[in-house]
């Protein structure tokens, strides 16, 4: 059922004006990501520049300043480089700094090592922590261990001033085998994070936690059916408690067309909830980059390509945009 329903979202006819708005929204939702062993400070500096201003000729070619992306997503060692680029005195940017932690991408480390990983990343200035769960323990049926590790990780996100770094729980759905497992892991993660620090509009500190599909290191990564199952978990949690949890599909979303399909799904599944306090997005907080992100890197340039095509009517070359 999830597969058929997800496929139905790809069949909508979308007019150019709406497509343009969706592409701009998708651009602002990007977690521009580089997670490679060969990542260097210079590469991350380039990524940060791209994150703040995805297309430097935007005003000349498109006649408008494009939005910054939502966040950059890097390994912990590169957080200082991001802080240097994105925070005062160099810049005053809205781009968040997300770091993968807890023994990314496998999570196969002792829990105290993984928690220390998180504490250090938060201390270095990460705004958001992308944690991986122990898929092995989960598949072995030790669901209480999953609850425990998410809860402890969220606790480790606490800063000296008492606030919390936002947490994204990567389920690595490509290794969870079934939709039932994805739903169960989503439910456990959402509740475990909530136990430490409630998220969503009910929370005065503006704490926002996410569930995320994949590390990007395992195939298949994000798919629409899996994202649909996770969105339904988020929806049911909102209906039950009134708390809003964010969603981040990551990996495998490479084209602007795919991104538009995901946003159609977010609109149709979450739109009817009509969450109070989000009038500017028709009651759908998941249509903002506070609650929905795309973990991707090549997607950025494809969105830019489509925006230029819509504006000028001409197809664009790869060399027209900076590499991300």
């Amino acid at each position: 059922m999830a597969t058929e329903r997800a496929a139905s979202f790809t069949k909508r006819s979308i007019k150019d004006a709406s497509k343009r708005e969706l592409l701009l929204t998708a651009l602002s939702m990007l977690d521009l990501t580089t997670l490679e062993g060969k990542d260097s400070p210079e590469k991350v500096r380039g990524l940060c520049a791209k994150a703040m201003r995805p297309y430097e000729r935007d005003e000349r070619v498109l006649g408008q300043r494009l939005p910054s992306v939502g966040a950059v997503c890097v390994y912990p060692n590169l957080i200082p480089t991001c802080v240097e680029m994105l925070r005062p005195p160099a810049a005053e940017s809205s781009v968040k700094i997300a770091a993968v932690a807890t023994g990314f991408p496998s999570g196969q480390f002792p829990l105290d090592v993984r928690l220390e990983d998180v504490r250090q990343a938060v201390a270095m200035g990460a705004d958001e922590i992308d944690m991986v769960i122990s898929r092995g323990l989960f598949l072995a049926g030790q669901h209480d261990k999953l609850w425990e590790e998410v809860r402890e990780t969220k606790k480790a996100c606490k800063r000296a001033d008492g606030s919390y770094a936002h947490l994204k729980v990567i389920l690595e759905t490509g290794e969870l085998e079934t939709f039932d497992n994805v739903r169960l892991a989503s439910d456990i993660s959402i509740r475990a994070m909530h136990e430490v620090c409630p998220s969503g509009p009910a929370d005065a500190h503006g704490n926002i936690d996410f569930i995320k599909t994949s590390t990007g290191k395992v195939q298949p990564a994000a798919t629409m059916p899996v994202t649909l199952v996770m969105l339904e978990a988020i929806r049911d949690w909102y209906l039950e408690t009134g708390h809003v949890v964010g969603m981040k599909p990551a990996g495998g979303i490479r084209t602007a067309k795919q991104a538009v399909h995901y946003l159609v799904m977010v609109h149709e599944v979450m739109g009817p909830l009509n969450v109070p306090g989000f009038a500017e997005v028709a009651g759908n907080p998941w249509m903002t980059n506070n609650y929905f992100r795309f973990g991707a890197s090549t997607l950025c340039n494809d969105i830019l390509r489509q925006l230029v095509k819509l504006k000028t009517g001409k197809y664009v070359a790869g060399y027209d945009f900076a590499e991300a």
Partner: protein, 323 residues
Amino acid sequence: MTTRLDIAKTYKLFINGAFPRSESGRTLPFMNARGEVLAHVSHASRKDLRDAVEAARAAQTKWANATAYNRGQILYRMAEMMEGKRDELAIALTEPMQRSANSTSKAAAKSKPSSKVTPAAAKFEVAAAIDRMVHYAGWCDKYAQVLGCNNPVSGPFYNFTSPEASGVAVCVCPDTSPLLALVSLMAPALVPGNSIIVVASEANPLPGVIMGEVCTTSDVPAGVINILTGQRAELLSHISGHRDIDAIHAGGLTPAENTLLREGAAENLKRVTIREAKLEAKKSARQASANTTSFDWTDATCNSPWWIESFVDFKTMWHPAAS
């Protein structure tokens, strides 16, 4: 006793090594002399062009990095496969292709070939096309020696200039000589390692479609050759405006079409090479038909290695000399 029904071929596009229909779902009907529908040929849209360019771009590096010898073998293999399809190609050239009367396009009505191609002329064109393929196959591992050079410099250095493929080239075929023109436009671009998109002759696209089948049986890597059929009027502005196309090769088009191709190229500096008849020939051609700049595809100039030069960029390298 029942009579056997002929199994008619579905004429489709050739993109990325596969034979898709046009994404638009459109076809153009072609009739034979007796007014029977001969074929519904795919009517490519700008989105098919876009897909073809993406495929060509993705395939280009690997094709350029194949050894010159290997590219030569593959082009020669194409000639071998054409040889096996000689009769089919000749029939495709002979059938007096006419767009059906209910076709809405004015350009289509104009583009009807005025005279029937005789079987002898068709045979001649097929042979000439195969020979040209073999000719350019031979140039694959020789053009660099002719176009490249070792430059004298003052200092203990060697200074080499070597030709490299430009990237993605589009070949726009004219209404006349649908097979020979196609091979003549395509082969010089393939030799140095460009990947190409062919817009087959609008008046008779069938030989172009058959060339797709030649490619699949010749170890041409998917995406290196892509073949579109349809209407030039619809595709030309998108070809000239597309920023990811590096070169255009055309000949025998109308002056207006030539202008359109050159104008769009001014924006991203793609190289436009248009084969036109020499001045005196032009004058007589003008008397024959004010509409096209005809070009004689059997002319020996078509075999010139300088035709390859239109599809290379030159790289100059310094290397320390011994002593």
